[in-house]
C-alpha cells in the first residue's frame, strides 16, 4: 500500500503545473526542430531491452542470498548458525548450517528456475525483429537495439517510408508512468513554414507494448517509451503482497514459540547457576575447567550459556517449516491449474494461479464481492427491443454469434407510426448505427468469435463493449446495417439498400463517470448531428424535448425485467455551434496538464439540450449455473454481495434470477431516492431497527441462515448513498454511520450495491475488510473496473472474460467462469486449508516432541547443555526423517471426498474463522507434543535408571539413551501423521513407511562404520546394540502406544460425542451413501458443546 501512495505522490509531482521539465520531447527521426521553434535538447533514453528477470548469471548468488536473508526466519537461523560458529556450543554448526543450507538451496533453485523462465521470455521479446526507418529505408533490427526517436512505423497521409522520412516533428509527452489507460501528449509537426501544427495525442493514439495489430497490416509510429520505460514494463514489478490468515497465525505461533524458547533458555541458565553455586558441582575433581574458562567473567559466561541453551533448543522453531510451506503452496497450486472441471471448453481457458500464497485463504472466505456484468452474467448481449417515441419494436430472436432463421422484420406492438414519427424512427436507427466505436472486420480473416450474419456480405463487429455490438447487430435486424468506417466516413446501409455516408467529425468517448458517449457526424446533405447514447440517469437530465415520460416508463419496466437499458438522444448543430465545439475540444485535448478534467468540462458543455429519441433494451443472460453457485456459496456461510454499475432495477432483477434474493427475502432499500425523502440518519436507524428486532431473538441460530422460517434480509444500496455513509461527518456528533451500516449489513444475507463507481467497489471491500470481525473477503470480477476491488480484497479472482484481461492479470487467481468459484472455494479452498493447517500444527508438534526431551535432559546433566541426540539426528530430523510424509500429506490429503464437499457446501462452515488454527487447537497440539515428549523421556529414564537393559549384563551409555528416545520419537511422530491421514494413496504409503525405513537404514549405517572424517565415534554400534536388546524393543512399542493413545482417544471421543458436520459426513460415507440427503439437512455448524447440539435439535423438533 505504501508503494501506491508513493506512486501517487510521484504522479502528482510529475503532473504538477510547474514541472514542465517532466515531459519528454521526442524528435522524430533524430531531426532537430527548425531553429527558433524550440531549444534542441538532446535527451537520452534507454534502449528497448526488456528486463523482467531479477538476476543475472553473475549476481545471482549474492543477490539471491541477500534477498533470502531478508526474511526474518532465515535471518534467525543465520544468527543461530553464526553463534554456533563463534561460541562453544553443544551442537556443531553443521546441525543448523546444513538445514539452513538445504532451505536456502531449495529456495534458490526455485527462484533461479523462475528467473530462468523470465530470462527466456525476455530473450524471446528482445530478439523479435522490428522494422524501423532510417533515412527513408526500412531496416530490420532486433527489438532490444531499438532506441527512442527512431521513427517506427499515424499520421494520415503517410503511406510510404519516404513520406515518413520527410516528416519533421517533435512529440511532447509525459514522462513514463505506469497508468496503462492514460496518456497525455502532443505532436508538433513542422512544415516548411515556421508555424508548427499542434495535434493532441491521447491514450487512443498510443500503442502499448505487446499490442497486436488487428485490421491493418502495418502502421507507422514513433517509439516514445522504450525498454523498461514502457508502460507495460512499469507495471511489471510491483505486485501486491497479500498474506493469508494462516500465515498470520503461523507468525503468531512462531512468536509464542520464540517466547517459549527464550524462557526455556532463561530458566535453564538461571537454574544452572543456582545449581552450580556449590563448587563441587560446578567443578568436581573429575571434571575440571581449563584455565581460560575459569578466568572468564561471570556475566560473559552466563551470557554464553544463555546463547548455548538457545542454540540447543533452537530447533523448536522449525527451520524447514517455511520451505515446506512454500513448497506445499507452490506445488499445491498446480492442482488448481490441472483441474479439468475448471477448464472452459468454449474459450479454451483454464484457471490461472498468479500467486500461490493465498491457496488456503480460499477456504476461509466469508464475504464475496462480485461484479455483475460478465461475472454473474455472460456479458453476451442480446438485443431485446427498442422503444422509439413510446413505440416498441421487437426484432425476432437474435442472438449475437448465432443466426436464427426468419429474423428480419419489425413487429409493431403499438400502432404504426405516422410520417414524422417515421422520420424520428429512422433517425433513431441512424443514431444507433453511428454512435459507437465498433470496428468492422471482414470475414475472410476471422479473428474474433463474433460474427454478424448478413444475407449479402458477412462481417464481424469488434468492440470493447459487447452492448454496442448487440445494438448494432440488433439494428441490422431492423434494417440498418453499419458497414464500415472508411477515410473518416461512416457508411451505413439503409432499408432501401442504399449506402449513406456520414463524415465522422468527433467522438466523445465513453467513460464510466459520464456514463454516456456521443458522436458528431455530418450527413451527406451537410447537416451536422450530435448523437448521444448513455444510461438513462445521465441522459434524462440533459433532454429538453421528446416523449420523456413514456420512454422513462418503458425503461423502468425493462430494468425490472433485468434488461440493460440505454437511452438515445440527438441534437442538430449548425456550423457555428460546431466551430465552437471544435475549439473547445481542441483546447482541452491539447492540454498536457489536467487534460481529463478539461475534457470532462468540455463534454459537459457539449452534451446538453438534447432531444430524446428512444431507448434500447439489451439482455445479458446469466452465466451458466450462476444461481446454483450462489446458492451453494450462501449455504457455505458466505455472504455474497453484488457490486455493479448498473441501475438498481436491472441489478435487482439479476439478483432474483441468480437466487441471491429469494422470494421471501425482505428487501431493504438504502437509495438516493429514499434518502431524499428522509434524512440518512433516520433511514439508517429505521433499517437497523427492522433488522435487529428480528435477529435479536435468533442470534444463536442466525448464522445457519437456512431455516425457512427465518426472515432473511437483502439490502440494496446505491453509490450515492454509499458515499454519504462513507463521508466522515463534519460535526462528528454521534460517531459515524459506518458502524450502523455495517451492523445492518451483517444481518442481511445478501447485499446489492448498484450504481457503483470502480473506486467505490474497492471502498466497500475495504470497509468490510477492516470492520471489527476482520472477515476474509474475496472479490471477483472480469473488467478493468473491478481491478481496484480485486486488489483490495484478501483474495482477488479475475474472470477471464470478454472485457479484456486486466482483471485476470491483476487477480490472485483467474477462472474462466463464475461457476468455477464453487469448486475453487468449496473443494480446493477447503482442502488447502485443511492441509496447511495440519502442516503448521504438525510442524510445531513434532518440534516440541523433538526439543522438549532435550530440555528435560538438562535437569539430569547438570544444566551443561549436553545434547540428548547425536549431531546427525539433530540435523536430519527435520530435513529427512520427518519432512516428506507431512509434505505429501499436505499435498494429497482429502479428509472427505471431492464430491461430498461439492454436494454439501455447509461443510465449509466447519473450517470458517480459521477454525483449525485457533488457540484451543494450537494449545492442544502443543500439549500433545509436551505429553509425548514426557512419555519419551521418562519412559527411557525409568528404563535406564539403575538397571541393566541388555541380556548380557552390559551397560548402555548416554548415546543409547538418546537414540532410544529419538527412535520412539520418529516412530510416534510419523505414526501420528498416519493416524491423521484420511486419504492413503500409494504415495502416502510409500512416503510414510519409506521414511521410517530410511530412518532405520540410516541409523544402521551411521552406527555401523567407523566414519573416518569424524573426530568422534560416539554412535558406533549404538543403534544395533540397542536393537539387540529385548527390553529396548518392549520399551519402544510401549512408549509409542502410550504416546499415541490419548490422541486416538480424543479423536474417537470427539467424533462420537461432538461430531462436526465433516465428521458426520465422513462416517456416513463409510457406511453407505443412502443417509446423505438427510444428513445434509442435519449438518449444522460445529457446535461448541454437546448442549448446543442438543438445544438445536430440540428447537428443530
Amino acid at each position: 500500500m505504501d508503494c501506491s501512495r508513493v506512486r501517487t505522490l510521484v504522479r502528482r509531482y510529475c503532473a504538477g503545473e510547474e514541472n514542465w521539465v517532466d515531459s519528454r520531447t521526442i524528435y522524430v527521426g533524430h531531426k532537430e526542430p527548425p531553429p527558433g521553434a524550440e531549444a534542441y535538447i538532446l535527451q537520452r533514453h534507454p534502449d528497448n531491452r526488456i528486463v523482467s528477470s531479477k538476476y543475472t548469471f553473475w549476481n545471482f548468488i549474492p543477490k539471491n542470498l541477500f534477498e533470502q536473508f531478508r526474511r526474518i526466519a532465515n535471518f534467525y537461523f543465520l544468527i543461530i548458525f553464526l553463534v554456533q560458529l563463534i561460541i562453544d556450543t553443544p551442537t556443531s554448526p553443521v546441525t543448523s548450517g546444513l538445514p539452513l543450507f538445504f532451505v536456502i538451496t531449495v529456495t534458490a533453485i526455485k527462484q533461479g528456475y523462475e528467473d530462468w523462465l523470465r530470462h527466456k521470455a525476455d530473450n524471446a521479446m528482445n530478439q523479435c525483429p522490428v522494422h524501423f526507418i532510417q533515412h527513408g529505408k526500412l531496416v530490420r533490427k532486433q527489438s532490444r537495439k531499438l532506441r527512442t526517436h527512431y521513427a517506427v512505423q499515424d499520421t494520415k497521409g503517410f503511406h510510404t517510408e519516404e513520406d515518413i522520412d520527410g516528416l519533421h516533428a517533435t512529440i511532447e509527452c509525459e514522462q513514463p508512468q505506469p497508468d496503462l489507460y492514460k496518456f497525455v501528449g502532443r505532436i508538433n509537426v513542422y512544415n516548411d513554414r515556421n508555424d508548427p501544427v499542434v495535434r493532441p495525442l491521447g491514450s487512443e493514439n498510443l500503442l502499448l507494448r505487446g499490442a497486436t495489430l488487428k485490421n491493418t497490416e502495418k502502421i507507422f509510429g514513433v517509439a516514445i517509451y522504450t525498454g523498461m520505460e514502457t508502460k507495460m514494463a512499469l507495471n511489471y514489478q510491483s505486485k501486491s503482497q497479500k498474506r493469508s490468515a494462516v500465515e498470520k497465525s503461523m507468525n503468531v505461533f512462531l512468536i509464542v514459540y520464540l517466547c517459549i524458547l527464550i524462557s526455556k533458555a532463561l530458566i535453564n541458565t538461571v537454574l544452572k547457576y543456582v545449581w552450580q553455586s556449590e563448587p563441587f558441582r560446578d567443578e568436581p575433581w573429575y571434571n575440571q575447567k581449563t584455565e581460560s574458562e575459569r578466568q572468564r567473567n561471570l556475566f560473559l559466561r552466563a551470557f554464553t550459556d544463555f546463547l548455548a541453551f538457545m542454540v540447543l533448543f533452537n530447533y523448536i522453531i522449525p527451520v524447514s517449516m517455511y520451505v515446506t510451506v512454500e513448497m506445499q503452496k507452490f506445488l499445491g497450486s498446480y492442482f488448481i491449474t490441472w483441474d479439468e472441471e475448471m477448464f472452459d471448453e468454449d474459450t479454451g481457458e483454464g484457471p490461472l494461479v498468479n500467486t500461490s500464497d493465498l491457496n488456503e485463504e480460499l477456504g476461509q472466505v466469508e464475504y464475496i464481492f462480485t461484479d455483475k456484468t460478465g461475472t454473474l452474467t455472460e456479458n453476451n448481449m442480446e438485443f431485446k427491443e427498442c422503444c422509439i417515441e413510446g413505440h416498441v419494436y421487437v426484432p425476432h430472436a437474435i442472438c449475437n454469434g448465432q443466426v436464427l432463421p426468419g429474423a428480419s422484420g419489425i413487429d409493431m406492438i403499438d400502432s404504426s407510426p405516422g410520417t414524422s414519427a417515421r422520420e424520428r424512427e429512422e433517425l433513431f436507427f441512424r443514431a444507433l448505427c453511428l454512435c459507437h466505436t465498433i470496428q468492422v472486420k471482414d470475414d475472410d480473416d476471422v479473428d474474433g468469435p463474433r460474427k454478424s450474419p448478413d444475407s449479402g456480405k458477412s462481417c464481424t463487429y469488434i468492440s470493447s463493449s459487447p452492448d454496442e455490438v448487440a445494438l448494432v447487430e440488433g439494428i441490422q435486424r431492423l434494417g440498418f446495417t453499419y458497414l464500415r468506417l472508411k477515410d473518416n466516413y461512416m457508411e451505413i446501409l439503409n432499408r432501401e439498400n442504399d449506402v449513406e455516408r456520414f463524415e465522422l467529425l468527433e467522438i466523445l468517448s465513453f467513460d464510466s463517470v459520464r456514463r454516456r458517449m456521443s458522436v458528431i457526424v455530418k450527413s451527406a446533405t451537410g447537416e451536422i448531428y450530435l448523437f448521444c447514447k448513455g444510461a438513462d440517469s445521465s441522459i434524462f437530465p440533459r433532454v429538453i424535448e421528446g416523449k420523456v415520460d413514456q420512454i422513462r416508463a418503458r425503461v423502468e419496466r425493462n430494468a425490472v425485467e433485468g434488461l440493460r437499458t440505454l437511452c438515445v438522444a440527438y441534437k442538430r448543430l449548425n456550423p457555428e455551434e460546431y466551430e465552437g465545439i471544435c475549439t473547445l475540444l481542441q483546447a482541452a485535448k491539447v492540454a498536457l496538464q489536467d487534460r481529463e478534467k478539461k475534457l470532462a468540462e468540455a463534454y459537459e458543455q457539449i452534451e446538453k439540450d438534447l432531444v430524446l429519441l428512444g431507448a434500447t433494451a439489451v439482455e445479458d443472460r446469466l452465466q451458466e449455473k450462476a444461481a446454483d453457485t450462489i446458492e451453494a456459496l450462501q449455504k457455505a456461510g458466505i455472504k455474497v454481495w453484488v457490486l455493479t454499475g448498473d441501475k438498481m432495477e436491472t441489478a435487482a432483477a439479476t439478483c432474483y434470477a441468480c437466487k441471491l434474493f429469494r422470494r421471501n427475502t425482505q428487501l431493504l432499500e438504502l437509495t438516493t431516492k429514499k434518502i431524499e425523502e428522509q434524512s440518512l440518519h433516520d433511514v439508517l436507524f429505521e433499517l437497523s431497527k427492522t433488522v435487529l428486532r428480528h435477529s435479536g431473538s435468533l442470534t444463536r441460530d442466525n448464522f445457519s441462515g437456512l431455516s425457512a422460517d427465518m426472515q432473511d434480509y437483502g439490502l440494496i444500496i446505491d453509490g450515492a448513498a454509499l458515499s454519504l455513509i462513507m463521508k466522515p461527518r463534519e460535526d462528528g456528533s454521534c460517531g459515524n454511520y459506518r458502524e450502523l451500516f455495517l451492523e445492518i449489513c451483517r444481518n442481511c444475507s445478501a447485499v446489492l450495491c448498484c450504481r457503483m463507481a470502480p473506486l467505490q467497489k474497492a471502498q466497500i471491500v475495504k470497509l468490510i475488510k477492516l470492520s471489527k470481525e476482520h472477515p476474509i473477503t474475496l472479490a471477483i470480477g472480469d473488467g478493468a473496473n473491478d481491478v481496484s476491488m480485486i486488489l483490495e480484497a484478501h483474495v482477488g479472482i479475475g474472470v477471464i472474460g470478454k472485457e479484456g484481461r486486466q482483471a485476470a492479470r491483476n487477480s490472485d487467481y483467474a477462472v474462466p467462469k463464475f461457476k468455477h468459484l464453487k469448486k475453487m472455494l468449496l473443494v480446493h479452498g477447503h482442502f488447502y486449508y485443511i492441509r496447511i493447517s495440519e502442516l503448521v500444527q504438525y510442524f510445531f508438534y513434532k518440534n516440541v516432541c523433538f526439543i522438549f526431551p532435550q530440555f528435560l535432559y538438562q535437569f539430569f546433566c547438570g544444566f551443561s547443555q549436553q545434547t540428548l541426540y547425536d549431531t546427525a539426528y539433530l540435523t536430519l530430523y527435520n530435513i529427512s526423517f520427518t519432512s516428506l510424509p507431512i509434505l505429501l500429506y499436505s499435498l494429497m490429503e482429502q479428509h472427505v471426498s471431492i464430491d461430498t464437499l461439492r454436494r454439501d457446501p455447509s461443510l465449509y462452515r466447519d473450517i470458517a474463522k480459521n477454525a483449525l488454527l485457533r488457540w484451543r487447537v494450537f494449545i492442544y497440539w502443543t500439549f500433545l507434543g509436551v505429553f509425548d515428549a514426557l512419555v519419551f523421556f521418562f519412559g527411557a529414564y525409568f528404563m535406564f535408571e539403575n538397571t541393566t537393559v541388555t541380556s548380557n549384563g552390559q551397560i548402555f551409555g548416554n548415546w543409547t539413551f538418546g537414540t532410544l528416545v529419538f527412535t520412539v520419537m520418529v516412530f510416534t511422530v510419523t505414526l501420528k501423521l498416519a493416524l491423521d491421514t484420511h486419504y492413503w494413496t500409494w504415495i502416502n504409503h510409500f512416503v510414510i513407511w519409506g521414511s521410517l525405513l530410511f530412518y532405520i537404514v540410516f541409523s544402521l549405517l551411521w552406527g555401523g562404520i567407523i566414519w573416518p572424517f569424524l573426530n568422534y565415534q560416539r554412535m558406533y554400534y549404538v543403534f544395533i546394540q540397542m536393537l539387540s536388546s529385548g527390553p529396548a524393543w518392549l520399551v519402544i512399542i510401549l512408549l509409542i502406544t502410550v504416546s499415541l493413545l490419548p490422541d486416538v482417544l480424543k479423536k474417537v471421543l470427539c467424533r462420537q460425542l461432538w461430531p462436526s458436520a465433516t465428521e458426520r459426513v465422513q462416517s456416513t460415507c463409510t457406511c453407505g451413501h443412502d443417509h446423505l440427503p438427510e444428513l445434509t439437512l442435519l449438518a449444522c455448524p460445529q457446535s461448541p458443546s454437546p448442549w448446543a447440539t442438543f438445544q438445536a435439535r430440540t428447537q428443530n423438533r
Binding site: G210, Y286, N287, G953, Y1016, Y1021, L1049, H1075
Partner: protein, 325 residues
C-alpha cells in the same frame, strides 16, 4: 495501484484465442493424480474401528506385562551367571564438558592423535609437556577401586570367588572402536612419548597383565569410557561364571567384600554401590517395564469398555435423532 503482468502474456499478446488446436493443448490431462482422484484407502478412526484395537492392546499388553514382571522378580535368585556391578551416584558422567573430553582417534590407535591429542581433552591434554594417553577427563577419572569377593565358609580363611574381567565391554568397542597404537614392539614402546593421566598411578600400558586386556583395550577402561546417561549409574565390573549346573553360582552363605578404596566420592556428595545381579532375557531386575505394560494394558482395556458403552449409547441417541428430524 499495483499491477502485475506476465511476460508470457506479452508474447502471446492479443485477446484470448479462438478455440481450436491451442485449446486442446491447454486442456489439463485427465490423470488420476492431477485430478486428485488417485485410488486411496480412506480409513476413519471411529469408535467402531478403534474398539477392537483397544481390546487387542489390552489383551496383548497385560500378559506381556505379567510375564516381564514375573521374570523381573525372579531375578533375585542367584542362578546362572552373576554380574557384579559398581554403582556411583551424583556423578555427572553426562556433563557436556565431561562427555566431549576424549579423543576417539587416539583411542582407536591413531598414532598422530596419540602424540597430539584433540583439543577437546583440555585441561587433561598434556602433562609436563607430554601428551596424555588416554587424554581427557573421562579417562582421567577412571574408577579405580578394586572389589574382591570372598565366600566365608567354615574354614578359617575365606575363599576368593573367581571374577572374570573379560566380556564386560561391548564386543565392537573392544575389537573395533578401541585399539592400541599399532606396532610390533611391546606396549610400553608403542606408548612411548606419552604420559599417564594425572590421577592415574599406573600408565595405560600397565592396566593389566594380559596383553589382550591391556592399554586402550582394557575392558575396565572401555566400560568406563562409555559415559552413562544419568548421574546415578552402574557399570559392569566383573562376571561370576557358573561353574556347574549342580551348584548355584553363589551358594548361600556369608560373603566378604574387600574394597580397595581409591576413588573419592565424598567431595561431590556421591555414593558407591556394589550390585550383584543375574540377568534374564530382559536384562536385570526392573519392575518398571512389567508394571507399565500391565498398567497400559489395563487402561486400554478399560477405555475399550468405556468406548463400547459410549458407542452403544450414542448410536441409540443418534438413531432417534435421525428419526425425529
Amino acid at each position: 495501484m499495483a499491477m502485475n503482468y506476465n511476460a508470457k502474456d506479452e508474447v502471446d499478446g492479443g485477446p484470448p484465442c479462438a478455440p481450436g488446436a491451442t485449446a486442446k493443448n491447454r486442456r489439463p490431462d485427465n490423470t488420476a493424480f492431477k485430478q486428485q482422484r488417485l485410488p486411496a484407502w480412506q480409513p476413519i478412526l471411529t469408535a467402531g474401528t478403534v474398539l477392537p484395537t483397544f481390546f487387542i492392546i489390552g489383551l496383548i499388553f497385560i500378559p506381556i506385562g505379567i510375564g516381564i514382571f514375573v521374570t523381573s522378580n525372579n531375578i533375585r535368585e542367584i542362578e546362572g551367571n552373576v554380574f557384579m556391578y559398581y554403582g556411583l551416584s551424583n556423578f555427572y558422567q553426562n556433563h557436556r564438558r565431561y562427555v566431549k573430553s576424549r579423543d576417539d582417534s587416539q583411542l582407536n590407535g591413531d598414532s598422530g592423535a596419540l602424540l597430539n591429542p584433540s583439543k577437546e581433552c583440555e585441561p587433561y591434554r598434556r602433562n609436563e609437556d607430554k601428551p596424555i594417553a588416554p587424554c581427557g577427563a573421562i579417562a582421567n577419572s577412571m574408577f579405580n577401586d578394586t572389589l574382591e569377593l570372598f565366600l566365608v565358609g567354615n574354614e578359617s580363611y575365606p575363599t576368593p570367588i573367581p571374577l572374570k574381567k573379560k566380556g564386560i565391554a561391548w564386543w565392537t568397542d573392544k575389537n573395533v572402536k578401541f585399539r592400541n597404537p599399532p606396532g610390533d614392539q611391546s606396549l610400553e614402546e608403542r606408548f612411548k612419548g606419552t604420559t599417564n593421566p594425572v590421577n592415574w598411578v599406573k600408565p595405560v600400558y600397565m592396566l593389566d597383565s594380559e596383553p589382550d586386556n591391556n592399554g586402550f583395550i582394557n575392558e575396565d577402561f572401555i566400560v568406563w569410557m562409555r559415559t552413562a546417561a544419568l548421574p546415578t549409574f552402574r557399570k559392569l565390573y566383573r562376571l561370576i561364571e557358573r561353574k556347574s549346573d549342580l551348584h548355584p553360582t553363589l551358594p548361600a552363605g556369608r560373603y566378604y567384600l574387600n574394597i580397595t578404596y581409591n576413588y573419592p566420592v565424598h567431595s561431590f556428595d556421591g555414593r558407591k554401590r556394589m550390585i550383584l545381579s543375574t540377568i534374564s532375557w530382559m536384562g536385570g531386575k526392573n519392575p518398571f517395564l512389567g508394571i507399565a505394560y500391565i498398567a497400559i494394558g489395563s487402561i486400554s482395556f478399560l477405555l475399550g469398555v468405556v468406548l463400547l458403552v459410549i458407542n452403544h449409547k450414542y448410536r441409540n441417541s443418534s438413531n432417534t435423532a435421525d428419526i425425529t428430524i
